[in-house]
């Protein structure tokens, strides 16, 4: 048995990447094993090329890929992964879909935020109460917070007019606020019979 037959990767469906070849896709699909084997010296490029050919990924000439070509493709893969903050030896954690979320699962950081009393997680509290409290969390319908109270206008303060810009001086706001009332009256007269229109 030659070295090339010493490793057996399970066949995987290859994902195509734009501007990249099949060899690149194969290396990417098996990157954790390849990275580990290369780092430990267990795999050689010749072995990898032979395994690649066993999976049906051939060179243009119909034979196993060249070692140089495989090495170059590996370098490209390493650069691509580095650009997205990944490394060949590590696979990003699998997505956990809501249907597969285990009971009591706590999003990272939320439990700490609850414990710290962070107002950002207001409405989220551990499941159960008192002795039944678990480490998990749940969105528990609480009494909704009171509606925000509009800022009360202090006595003697200059009114705000939407006809003026927010950064206009108070004299302009005061004058325009008074005008708005007059406009409303005038519109009732000028547009008699029509509904009041927003400006």
């Amino acid at each position: 048995m030659s070295d090339a037959q010493a490793i057996l990767f399970r066949k995987k469906r290859l994902q195509a990447f734009r501007g990249r070849g099949k060899l690149y896709s194969w290396l990417r699909a098996h990157r954790e094993k390849i990275a580990g084997g290369l780092a430990s010296g267990e795999y050689t490029w010749a072995m990898l090329c032979a395994e690649c050919a066993r999976h049906g990924v051939m060179s243009r000439q119909g034979g196993p890929p060249e070692r140089t070509a495989a090495w170059k493709a590996w370098q490209t893969l390493c650069r691509d992964l580095a650009a997205s903050g990944e490394s060949p030896g590590e696979r990003p954690p699998r997505r956990v879909y809501p249907s597969q979320t285990p009971k009591g699962w706590v999003p990272p950081g939320i439990a700490a935020a609850i414990a710290a009393g962070n107002p950002a997680v207001e409405g989220v509290r551990p499941v159960g109460t008192g002795a039944e409290a678990s480490a998990g969390t749940a969105l528990v319908p609480r009494a909704p917070p009171p509606p925000p109270v509009p800022p009360t206008r202090a006595e003697g303060k200059v009114p705000f007019s939407r006809l003026a810009d927010p950064d206009d001086p108070p004299e302009v706001h005061a004058a325009y606020a008074e005008l708005e009332e007059q406009f409303d009256k005038a519109d009732w007269y000028l547009l008699a019979g029509s509904s009041k229109k927003r400006r």
Partner: protein, 270 residues
């Protein structure tokens, strides 16, 4: 003494000057103002320096109006100078209709610091900048505020809703104009902004040469037709409600004061 009314001896004479381009309602405003003040017992002299118009001038409505003689801009300028000197000397309230376009008044303003000269003689000048909903209506305000420096401390920007096209809201029509920095700058320097109420049948009144009181009462002039029933109702509401509201929003010290009859002194009475 009612609030806001000072004895003429205690207060400076008022000179109302209506400014603005042509067809923005300067004469209509002053016509309304003079009728209103006189109806309130406030004597106001009328100066008609509008050399462009011959019909619908203040002279048509007020036979006692002083009218600029026919002539060029220089004649108009000299006439205005003479009137102002007379006002400073004799201390009375007056309104001045300078007309639109290039006028004797605009020439005078370009030549000399008129405002300082008049106000330095203890006369309160009230500038009424009449504008409609077009941005070009602000040219006068910009010109006088920034170039010619004729911006009295007592200035009113009068938004003439009579110029708003039928079917438009006043607020929507004037919104672009109100966003203009010329108006905001004037307001920041103490000017007031006021909305001149619209009278849709204004032309019917002025074409007949009627005063608003006559129009409201259904009177004709020189055998002419009185206003229709509904136009009389329109004038009635405008004259008795909208116009007093308009003038009521202006500072009292910017308005002419009522004549004070000579009262016998204590020694004479006693």
């Amino acid at each position: 003494m009612p609030d806001g009314q000072m004895r003429p001896v205690d207060r400076p004479p008022i000179l109302w000057i209506a400014l603005g381009r042509q067809r923005v309602g300067k004469t209509a405003l002053l016509n309304t103002a003079v009728q209103y003040f006189r109806a309130e017992g406030k004597p106001v002299r009328v100066w008609n320096a509008d050399q462009q118009n011959r019909s619908h001038t203040l002279s048509m409505f007020f036979p006692d109006a002083d009218e600029v003689p026919n002539g060029g801009i220089e004649d108009g300028k000299a006439w205005i100078e003479a009137r102002i000197e007379e006002l400073i000397k004799d201390r009375y309230d007056a309104v001045l209709d300078v007309g639109g376009g290039a006028t004797g008044f605009s020439r005078l303003v370009q030549e000399v610091p008129v405002l300082e000269a008049i106000e330095g003689s203890a006369v309160r000048v009230v500038g009424l900048f009449c504008i409609g909903p077009e941005k070009a209506d602000l040219d006068y305000l910009e010109q006088f505020a920034e170039v010619d420096r004729f911006m009295p401390a007592a200035s009113v920007i009068v938004l003439n809703t009579g110029l708003v096209l039928s079917g438009r809201s006043a607020g929507g029509a004037f919104k672009p104009v109100l966003a203009h920095p010329a108006i905001k700058g004037a307001l920041a320097h103490g000017a007031k902004v006021a909305m001149m109420p619209a009278l849709t049948c204004m032309a019917q009144v002025t074409d007949r040469g009627l005063t608003f009181a006559e129009a409201m009462d259904g009177r004709g002039k020189d055998g002419g037709e009185p206003l229709s029933l509904f136009d009389r109702a329109r004038v009635n509401r405008w004259w008795t409600r909208d116009v007093p509201e308009f003038f009521g929003k202006l500072p009292a010290e910017w308005l002419p004061a009522a004549r004070v009859e000579a009262q016998p002194s204590d020694s004479e009475a006693g």
